[in-house]
């Protein structure tokens, strides 16, 4: 073993203390080496490699501070498109499509209804059956603006989004409740507990199964915070109409799986209708 030259600095990681120690190398060619160690663990690096690692960590800290201090640009409410009022005709179409799913044993939930587009979540095990139905009914496959064809990646074995058109109506298909990652052009599925809840709970509306309201709220919240970085009029209204739901422990647990230590502050901001602050403070949050 190379001879110890000197102790440089003690560091703490959680409750464990380590000493950064400078040593002679095992051989003359190796040069000096650094040990990061305590009496149970040792990590060895060549001096230059240690300096490189240190420079990366130090720069990471500098970048962290920059990100937290640099205010993000919020998407303004008036830059969102306007949601048209949902007609009875559209509701009828939702019922018809839902019945087709049920008749073919396809597990589904309606996540979102717009006048021109319905968003369904299809159980991942039934997606092949769905594609068959779509093909049999000659639904036209469209390019999803946030799909694989537009360069988006779907992580953690998430199913890519699908989009079909049926005459003047679009049908958007998810297999998992999605969340936009902060890494550009990547989607990830929300926590497993949320995904399970989709199939355990539902709200029967008219003759079709809507996604449980808490799942809907999480979906719209994540869309606003991570995808758009701004709340649309619709998102604000659906949150306001269901604000008492945010007092439930279930809802807190679901939000906690996404927002972690920021969850309590988020709920408070939403209750006070401080939507811009909810997002700005999230991106500059440092108390964790």
């Amino acid at each position: 073993m190379g001879e110890k030259i000197k102790d440089l600095q003690s560091i703490n990681i959680g409750k464990s203390s380590f000493m950064i120690e400078l040593n002679e190398g095992y051989t003359a060619e190796q040069g000096r080496v650094i040990h990061i160690q305590n009496n149970k663990f040792r990590y060895l690096l060549k001096e230059k490699d240690f300096i490189r690692l240190a420079s990366l960590v130090m720069r990471a800290w500098s970048e962290f501070k920059y990100i937290k201090e640099n205010k993000i640009k919020l998407k303004k409410e008036d830059s969102f498109g306007i949601r048209k009022k949902i007609s009875n005709e559209t509701k009828e179409k939702v019922s018809i499509i839902s019945k087709q799913f049920e008749d073919n044993g396809i597990r589904y939930r309606v996540l979102d209804i717009q006048e021109e587009m319905i968003t369904f979540i299809i159980h991942p095990e039934d997606i092949i059956r769905f594609i068959d139905i779509a093909s049999t009914n000659r639904w036209k496959k469209e390019i999803h603006p946030y799909g694989s064809d537009k360069g988006y990646s779907f992580l953690y074995q998430m199913n890519p989004f699908l989009l079909y058109s049926i005459s003047d109506l679009y049908v958007e298909i998810y297999c998992q409740l999605p969340c936009a990652s902060l890494t550009p052009k990547k989607w990830i599925p929300l926590d497993l507990s949320i995904q399970k809840r989709i199939w355990e709970k539902d709200d029967i509306l008219n003759s079709y199964k809507m996604c449980d309201i808490k799942c809907q709220l999480i979906y719209h919240l994540c869309w606003a915070v991570f995808k758009n970085q701004g709340f649309s009029v619709y998102e604000k209204s659906i949150i306001n109409e269901n604000i008492e739901v945010f007092d439930d422990k279930d809802m807190f647990d679901m939000l906690n799986s996404v927002f972690f230590k920021y969850t309590e502050i988020l709920i408070e901001r939403l209750k006070n209708q401080q939507y811009d602050s909810a997002i700005l403070e999230y991106y500059s949050y440092m108390e964790y």
Binding site: Q114, I143, Y156
Partner: protein
Amino acid sequence: MSNPAVIKLQSSKINKNRIWIDDNFGESIHIHIDDIRVDLSVQEFEKLYEDLCCTLNKLIEVEGLDFRKIDPIYLEVMLWDKLTKLKMVRIDYVNLDDMYAPFGQTMVKLSESRGVKALRGVFKEEEKRRSNHLGQTETERMAISLESIKENGYPYDNQYIVMYGDDNIIRDGQHRASCLYYLYGNIEVPVMRMYFDNYDSPNIYKYYNSKLFCFLRVAKRKISKLFKLFKIVTIKLITKIMRKIVSVLKKKVGKNVNSDIVTIFSSK
């Protein structure tokens, strides 16, 4: 499942080991070395930064050098691999007119540098560089430097413009030097000189004042511009032809998103 709000703060390779550091919003900061992961709170991360500054101070041990005063971006991009050869630092005083700044493959006088030209409005730099913060453009960085100089003066917090050896090439602090020149003209300012074993000033600096060299530099720039234009036109033509071929051969739905869909998604 993973935190959706993850930003990669740094990533690199050290020998064959992958290193990356990410911020998991609301959760913790992760330092990964291949399959090993260390989780830190924000407070622990800040303490680690300070401890590493102290560690490097004791490891490098050059009088007058304090890593808490060295820009971490400059350290990570340029300085780290020279530190084992660092022998001495000292503070010196240099006129801004005598300073040189890198400009592509060459050096130019500070008064002709990109920084000074950008401040004078000659052009706008939207480029994002590795030597800037994540996602930060040159224009944004310059604006921050200008604001800082106006508010705090120079040097601020013992952070100096850095030069190597006895040459006057700016190694770190080009933005500050440009701002100083823009605000105050040719004044004398303190700089930190770093002396390394076996350091040689770049030869190109010696030929800066040569008229032939200037002519060659301008000619090179013009030829490079023409070549870029030719490349763009050729690529556009080839792309157009390829698209036509693809649309004829492929039966698959086109890569363009229906404009109706774009409108619907804008309200989402």
